[in-house]
Amino acid sequence: MMQKAAHIFRLYFYQAWYSYRSLFAWSTPFSYFTSKFGFPFFSMLMFVFMAKFAGLNDPAYIIIGNILLMPATNGIYGISMTVGNERQFGAMSYLLGSPAPRAPLFLGRAFFHILDGLVSVIIALPIALLIFKVNISQVHVFLLLCCLVILTITTTGLGFIMGSISLLSRDGWMFTNVIGQLLFILIGVNFAVSQLPRFLQPVSNFLPMTRVILATRQVLEGVGWSQISELLVGEILVGLVYILFGYTLFRIIERASMSTGSLDSI
């Protein structure tokens, strides 16, 4: 029993480490920084100037929102790439042919992306708060940290789903990008969800990150656990549903590929 648990544990971290190193498609620190921070940083500035042009003079809302979206680069794009590239690089057939248990194989892809996303947001958020002189004397630091951990974990659900979809379609990366960019609109990154047209507001409730971004903003305003607990519980539930759905989708695709031999032909 212990031996089996140790085997699964080891497999989980091996998968996590090797998939992070080899399948996130960066080979030098420079390419890591450009691919991870290039688009998010410049699109954030773009939104800030668009808001200024519209007549909104406080950029803090947009900057905090976009920083909280940073883990999505890892959680959605990174995980989707590590799953999808497995097939593109020709390693998926070997992986599916191995007797290794699937849960650590699949879910292991998230571990270092969660850590990477968490470190990014933990570094970037205080810098932004200092630059924009946001009063943080009332902020409950442990609660803020809790929000950030939940944020980086729940983001991965969409990454698992998009990774599985990229096994079904050679245009999977395009779908991942579109979903990633729709988050600029739907989850309260650049403006409050209440600003969305009425028919879109319910969509936000079914997406990961919506609640935790709102909760984090409230924590930054000095709100305590009792006021955000419902949001965080909701976020954890939504995140779990997405992660389980992603895993189930992967298993369905795996079984279908075994019976039809179609994985490499799509």
Partner: protein
């Protein structure tokens, strides 16, 4: 000479359209990404209490963004894709110069990008009721030609510049958004801090865009409008000269060192 020139152009553009432009990824760059940025602009405008968004910047600016994004992701990858697919040797070995082939391909990339602009204008007219009364239609057409020329020169420049390194793909993330940011695709350049406005002056697209916006907001030809066109033309030509110089360097490097696959 001219018949073979046009046949070459037609064939190159046909192949480029089929193999590298007509795919879902490019379509997303032409239509979905600009639409998302336009929607963000509209909601921000609504949140600021404006009754309607500025169509010239928020909607039609999205079309310019689609043209630029499409160009960045097709032209900068052109030579790299040839190298990866093994067709670079065949092109360099053929009597037609790489420069000429790249010229036609970039032209097609830009013409395809026009669909993004057309989509944005249609959205502005059909959905938001933008009307062309009081605009300088001739000025708009001339400004668009200058923008297309500017994009073509920059596309050629980027295709050759990024042929030097296998890591060129990583630079794309540093090209797409910063250009949109600096050239004021979705807001007037005056919104930017003064030092950023100075940086943006080296890009011809900025001047072409200023001409386009001026033509959309006023029906008259002014010396200011002509100065924007002249700046767009002059800086585009400078980029073209740089592209030709780089193109020579790429060719020399390939022929002298025989390191076609190592560039």
């Amino acid at each position: 000479m001219s018949a073979s020139f046009f046949r070459l152009g037609w064939r190159q553009m046909d192949v480029q359209l089929r193999t590298r432009v007509l795919n879902l990824w490019t379509m997303a760059l032409f239509f979905i990404q600009p639409a998302i940025f336009s929607i963000v602009g509209m909601i921000l405008s609504h949140a600021a209490g404006n009754t309607s968004p500025d169509l010239v910047y928020t909607v039609i600016g999205g079309g310019i963004m689609g043209m630029w994004s499409g160009l960045v992701f097709t032209s900068t990858y052109d030579i790299r894709t040839d190298r990866r697919e093994g067709t670079l040797e065949l092109i360099v070995g053929s009597p037609t110069s790489l420069r000429r082939v790249e010229g036609f391909r970039t032209l097609l990339n830009i013409l395809a990008g026009l669909s993004s602009m057309a989509f944005a204008v249609l959205a502005a007219v059909l959905i938001f009721g933008y009307d062309f009364s009081g605009v300088n239609v001739t000025g708009i057409v001339i400004s668009m030609l200058f923008i297309l020329f500017a994009l073509w020169c920059m596309g050629l420049f980027l295709a050759n510049l990024l042929a030097w390194s296998r890591l060129s793909g990583t630079f794309v993330d540093l090209l797409e958004m910063p250009m949109a940011l600096l050239c004021g695709f979705m807001y007037p350049i005056s919104i930017l801090p003064p030092w950023l406005q100075k940086v943006s002056a080296v890009f011809p697209i900025r001047w072409g865009l200023e001409g386009l916006r001026e033509s959309m907001l006023s029906a008259t030809f002014t010396p200011h409008l002509f100065s924007r066109w002249l700046l767009a033309l002059g800086i585009s030509l400078a980029f073209l000269l740089l592209a030709r110089w780089l193109d020579g360097k790429v060719h020399d490097h390939i022929r002298i060192t025989g390191e076609l696959h190592s560039i």
